[in-house]
């Protein structure tokens, strides 16, 4: 098992090993949904919730069903099916209890299924050999890290509307540059602790 203490996993995946800015996962919805702060906030709640639950569920399935049966090569299919089912559940839940949020998230909720951050968190959990508590901690904190990054970006994009960006750089180009700067800022935490 991995000997990393829990608080290192927590702080590490929030800052130094941020799943978006260091592992570069979940870029698609990050780029699409970061234009408004409230959409970004809703999506990050959904992501935190889904990563937490799916890392826990997939941990149990992987170590208690797939590994004993020597079916671990099926892991990808099982993981993604689990995530898809879970997202479907969240979608129905949000539609029932918060129609406003449901409308503002629109088509992006099903997109969480193909959000690489979620599957990425699960795969990192397996590769780094976390135990159950570590996995759940990692799930919560990487979801929060992703949320932190997208909220920062949404805040910046609010202000960026007023700036004069060179025409060819507009759109995706300048988003990449700004994300690069944010990633550089987060690298500043790297000396603090290192997580593997």
């Amino acid at each position: 098992m991995n000997p990393t203490p829990l608080w290192v996993i927590f702080v590490g995946s929030l800052f130094t090993n941020n799943i978006l800015l260091a592992s570069l996962l979940g870029m698609c919805s990050f780029l699409v949904c970061s234009s408004r702060i409230d959409t970004a906030l809703g999506l990050s709640y959904a992501v935190i919730f889904v990563t937490t639950c799916t890392t826990a569920i997939n941990y149990l399935i992987y170590y208690h069903v797939l590994v004993p049966l020597h079916l671990d090569y099926l892991a990808f299919v099982v993981f993604i099916a689990m995530i898809a089912a879970f997202v479907q559940f969240v979608e129905m839940f949000v539609e029932r209890f918060s129609p406003k949020l449901y409308h503002s998230l629109g088509i992006f909720l099903p997109l969480i299924t193909v959000n690489c951050a979620i599957l990425g968190a699960v795969l990192f959990m397996v590769i780094r050999k976390y135990d159950f508590v570590q996995s759940v901690t990692f799930g919560v904190s990487s979801g929060m890290g992703w949320g932190l990054a997208i909220l920062l970006m949404a805040g910046l994009r609010d202000k960026m509307g007023y700036s004069n960006v060179p025409a060819p750089l507009r759109g995706l180009g300048v988003l990449m540059m700004v994300t690069g700067v944010i990633a550089m800022v987060f690298m500043g935490f790297a000396g603090m602790l290192n997580m593997q």
């Binding site: 996962l25 698609c28 193909v114 990425g120 995706l172 180009g173 690069g180």
Partner: protein, 216 residues
Amino acid sequence: MADNSKHASCGGCRGKCKETMKSGIAANNPVLTQAIGVCSVLAVTTKLENSLVMGIAVIVTTSLSCLFMSLLRTITPPRIRMIVEIAIIAVFVICFDQILKAVYWDMSKQLGPYVGLIITNCIVMGRLEAFALQNPPLLSFVDGLSNGIGYALILAVVGFVRELLGSGTLFGVAVLPASVYQTNLLFVLAPGAFFTMGLLIWIINALKPKTAEASH
């Protein structure tokens, strides 16, 4: 975004496979114009070799899953098509992953979770949704192939720049001697990926004729 690609692909199917081929690589390149599948472009391109392996993986997965989805398109009920698509993609990704593990263990370890993450790569899913569901198998295969190649090209370019500037090597062979060029670690790390990608998009947009400007 989705509308745009649909129009382009319809134009392609009335013409020939050649049209489709061209659109995926150049005019309608998935990464540059549709901004999808960016994650792995950024994550695996620290070395040129990794980028090429990843590019091959995406080409194989996209083209084969487009072919099979297109074969199954008439008998798949629309309600469950997403699950079918994911299952098809996952099968090919698992095959590739197992082969890579057997043939090239070091690379498999370096790519880590990113091979598995092809399943959630929006390019594959996007092509299946936008093209393979409406078009005959052969054309879908060509479309998948061309989008895969378009993607792999970007991957190769970004990988080339990052390995050259970041560690002064290409394919692990020293190209820029340390006395001439001080290597810049930033390009190997995550921010370098963003900057390289941003600059690439900037250059390509600046060189492109000013016709499709209004989309953003």
